[in-house]
Symmetry: C2
Subunit: 135 residues, 2 copies
């Protein structure tokens, strides 16, 4: 298991890029709109293969926008890369962890991901992520 990213929900991604990139000095790898998830995301590498992801919701009534309205800006989740997401889901469920989805969600580039409920991880929303395969 490897830390893939730390996701931070923000009100205004340009302001947040000013802080994390311009002021703090993290490189800015790319910024992209993800209309399918109603977010704009900036990716700032941490130098060890993991990244900070700044996430601004672009529509109301999504999970991310509700989090922002309720909790304010801050860390939303951490993401761990696993080799085999179905295996990880089965192992974790057998050990009492609560996986939110029954099946992995599949992203635009074929990556698979699910979330582990924070009630089963001492308050931390954890994304499990499997790289897309190109077989």
């Amino acid at each position: 298991m490897r830390l893939d990213h730390i996701a931070i929900v923000v009100e205004d991604i340009d302001n947040a890029i000013e802080v994390y990139h311009t002021a703090m000095g993290f490189p800015l790898r790319k910024t992209e709109d993800v209309p399918a998830e109603n977010v704009t995301v900036a990716f700032l590498p941490l130098g060890d293969g993991s990244e900070i992801e700044l996430i601004q919701p672009t529509a109301p009534d999504t999970g991310v926008s509700k989090f922002l309205a309720k909790c304010g800006e801050g860390i939303h989740h951490i993401c761990l890369e696993v080799d085999d997401i179905e295996q990880a889901m089965a192992d974790y469920a057998a050990k009492g962890l609560r996986i939110i989805e029954d099946e992995p969600r599949v992203g635009s580039e074929g990556q698979k991901y699910v979330f582990v409920h924070p009630k089963s991880t001492h308050g931390v929303l954890i994304e499990l992520y499997e790289k897309p395969s190109y077989e």
Copy 2:
């Protein structure tokens, strides 16, 4: 800059170790009591040089115990290692970030650390950390 650790505040460190070590499979490097800071800490390496730190407060009226009472379990801060903490403090302050301490705090092993106020970092408490020097 390098991610040193992600700190998670928990009610009961043994229960949290059951989840993060036994169920999720993170190695458990060590657990230690830090009476000077009124916490017990478990260190679980993430495989890339960074770690998850599970932190249980052991006294009331500390910052960590107040956080737990107010916000519940969850991510408390992230820690970034810097080469020169005084330089980082000066650079960050010049760029408008709010450093909580005027001078670095010094830990039991000579490490220096300060915290950047979450009001200046879009809701994320960020620790800056400089390794102890052994010159």
